[in-house]
């Protein structure tokens, strides 16, 4: 089974600083996002799955979050049995996504909710996704992709509180550790990293990648993984 653990906003520097061996796997590094105008979540995940830069196409839409790839437009089409859990641009739970965006607005603009309430909304969803992801690993899929948004969504309000982010990162590390028991080949990838702005966090200009197999990659573009996955088939 091939498994992709997609972790939104996972920052390379924190992974190294917190010394998280499971996230780093056998080979790891940063991704090159220079082909994108800005490190936008929807654009990068969609481009990653399609194997081509979809920035223009996505940004030409009125609401970029409504963009949806068809299975045949993604590397999933190369595999017989596949599942993608909550991946932006493909299978993301939009109701939850809208709730999270509203919660961020409630915190920053309307000051209606606390950080704790915001975190709770995000982490409850995270637990649900985690359950679905691990259930999928027990089934007979050729490829499974799980998408975990907590590091990014919580990071926007708390990336500057390193001690708190370490707990989230250790949770991601534990997910990868457990996944490694089931996966033959595994890719961990983020769309972008983050940088601290006071206690808050903003997207950084590089992403994170790691694999549990031998491959020579310097600073790959997210779109390069399409071919790597096709070759793994």
């Amino acid at each position: 089974m091939i498994v992709i653990v997609g972790i939104d906003g996972l920052e390379y520097d924190y992974v190294k600083e917190f010394n998280l061996p499971n996230l780093m796997q056998r080979n790891h590094g940063t991704t090159d996002l220079s082909e994108f105008e800005e490190p936008r979540t929807m654009v990068i995940w969609s481009s990653f799955m399609a194997g081509k830069n979809l920035e223009k196409e996505i940004l030409s839409r009125k609401n970029l979050w409504e963009f949806r790839l068809k299975p045949e437009e993604t590397f999933f089409s190369k595999f017989n049995k596949h599942i993608a859990i909550d991946v932006p641009g493909y299978t993301q739970d939009m109701e939850q996504h809208n709730k999270e965006r509203q919660a961020m607005k409630d915190y920053f603009v309307d000051k209606k909710i606390s950080v704790e309430e915001y975190d709770e909304l995000v982490l409850r969803h995270h637990e649900k996704i985690k359950d679905r992801f691990f259930e999928s690993l027990e089934k007979d899929y050729d490829i499974v992709m799980g998408y975990f948004g907590a590091a990014d969504v919580i990071g926007h309000l708390s990336f500057g509180i390193k001690s708190k982010m370490k707990i989230i990162y250790k949770e991601m590390d534990e997910i990868v550790r457990k996944t490694s028991e089931k996966a033959d080949k595994m890719i961990v990838i983020s769309d972008h990293g983050m940088k601290a702005v006071g206690r808050f966090g903003d997207h950084s200009d590089h992403g994170f990648w790691s694999v549990n197999f031998d491959i020579k990659l310097e600073k790959p573009k997210p779109t390069e993984f399409y071919k790597i996955l096709a070759d793994l088939q």
Partner: protein, 412 residues
């Protein structure tokens, strides 16, 4: 100023140092409110146990921002007793702090994982603790929860440890079975280890006293700078003892004697200054003093010699060779010198004596050395007056080793 008992917390990586510090701070209500609660809640939401090591992470952040915590020092209070934990983020920083005197500890807590036993860094740190003359030592055998709070395993490990530490005449004052993560035997006695009748960690710390009453020692004031503003003002920090207006002093190494005319602190005249103060002084006579000279009192003068015997610990990536030219730096004295002899070289991890006479000292090795200096140095036996008994060695422009002076050097 309140008196603080300072202690170093040392141990092999992952043996639970951060957790124990976090637990001590948490259980003595010494943590700032706020973010700790946020971290605690995040753990709860993820169904994870709150780890006290996270408290340390939080303190590190505060330290990085320079908000509440001074570099390398964590303050806390238990009842009416004040403590300061001397901490360093990494192994090398710790060794450097210990040897450069950035941290003068009254006591040491050596932490050992009861499940894993003594590891490489445990022995190295124990060696350094001993080298620095720290006699008030608590060894905590942590993670007792992992070995089912077993008395038998504790006793076995304690015996092995005693044997190892005795090699270097280290006799721990207390050996305490603890679980930092569960809070067992940290503040209160553990009910899960009712077979243990000794003190908890905080009770044991409460019995310790300040190691050296440095203010009661003879005066040592190394001169840092001389300002000539019509009248010459000599500036420096008092490393031991007390200086008073009208006092007769001797200036070493020149052996000149002089009388203190005035003392100045932050622009105000004072009549007396104690250890730790940086002050300016003037003399009634003309004296010829430069940076590096040491103002002392007539009784209890330090040693003056161009040869010293010392125990040193080498941290450099490149070795220290016999006959190599180095810079000896102690307080404000910087003197060129040569390594004349390297004796009784040991591996600081295994404590194994490698060579009785050696031609070089590699990184993380310790030895007794004799240094020949180009000019006389003013120093004390470290066990008598620590601040003027410690030094560092500068090679290629950076501090690469440090040590403590044991005596005036014999001729090679």
């Amino acid at each position: 100023m309140d008196e603080y008992l300072s202690f170093v917390m040392v141990g092999h990586i992952d043996h639970g140092k951060s957790t124990l510090i976090g637990r001590l701070l948490y259980d003595t209500n010494s943590l700032p409110e706020g973010k700790t609660e946020e971290i605690k809640k995040t753990c709860e939401m993820l169904g994870k146990k709150f780890e006290f090591a996270y408290v340390m992470d939080h303190l590190d952040e505060e330290r990085e921002k320079g908000i509440t915590i001074e570099t390398s020092q964590i303050f806390f209070k238990n009842g009416n007793k004040n403590y300061v934990i001397i901490d360093a983020p990494g192994h090398k920083e710790f060794i450097k702090n210990m040897l450069t005197g950035a941290s003068q500890a009254d006591a040491a807590v050596i932490i050992v994982d009861a499940d894993e036993g003594v590891m490489e860094q445990t022995t190295r740190h124990a060696y350094l603790v001993n080298m620095l003359g720290i006699k008030q030592i608590i060894v905590v055998l942590n993670k007792m929860d992992k070995i089912d709070y077993s008395q038998e395993k504790f006793e076995n490990l304690k015996n092995n440890l005693h044997e190892l530490l005795l090699k270097f005449q280290i006799k721990p004052t207390y050996v305490i079975p603890i679980s930092a993560i569960e809070g067992e035997n940290i503040i209160k006695k553990s009910k899960k280890m009712d077979w243990y009748s000794g003190l908890s960690v905080i009770e044991a710390l409460d019995t310790f006293k300040k190691m050296v009453e440095i203010e009661k020692m003879p005066l040592r004031m190394p001169i840092q700078d001389v300002y000539d503003i019509g009248e010459k003002i000599y500036v420096g920090k008092i490393e031991s003892g007390t200086i008073k207006k009208g006092m007769e002093v001797v200036i070493l190494p020149s052996e000149e004697t002089a009388k203190i005319k005035s003392l100045e602190l932050y622009g105000s005249d004072i009549i007396e200054a104690n250890v730790g103060r940086s002050i300016g002084i003037t003399f009634t006579e003309d004296v010829n003093i430069k940076r590096g000279a040491v103002i002392c009192e007539q009784n209890g003068k330090p040693e003056v010699s161009n040869r010293i015997t010392a125990n040193i610990f080498w941290m450099g990536e490149k070795p220290l060779d016999k006959e190599e030219r180095i810079i000896y730096k102690s307080t404000t004295q910087e003197i060129n010198g040569t390594v004349e002899k390297i004796k009784n070289k040991i591996n600081s991890s295994s404590l194994e004596v490698l060579e009785e006479e050696s031609k070089k000292l590699e990184g993380l090795e310790a030895a007794e050395i004799i240094i020949k200096l180009e000019k006389p140095a003013v120093f004390d036996d470290f066990n008598h007056i620590p601040p003027t008994g410690r030094f560092v060695i500068i090679k290629d422009g950076i501090v690469q080793g440090g040590g403590i002076i044991t005596s005036r050097g014999e001729a090679a």
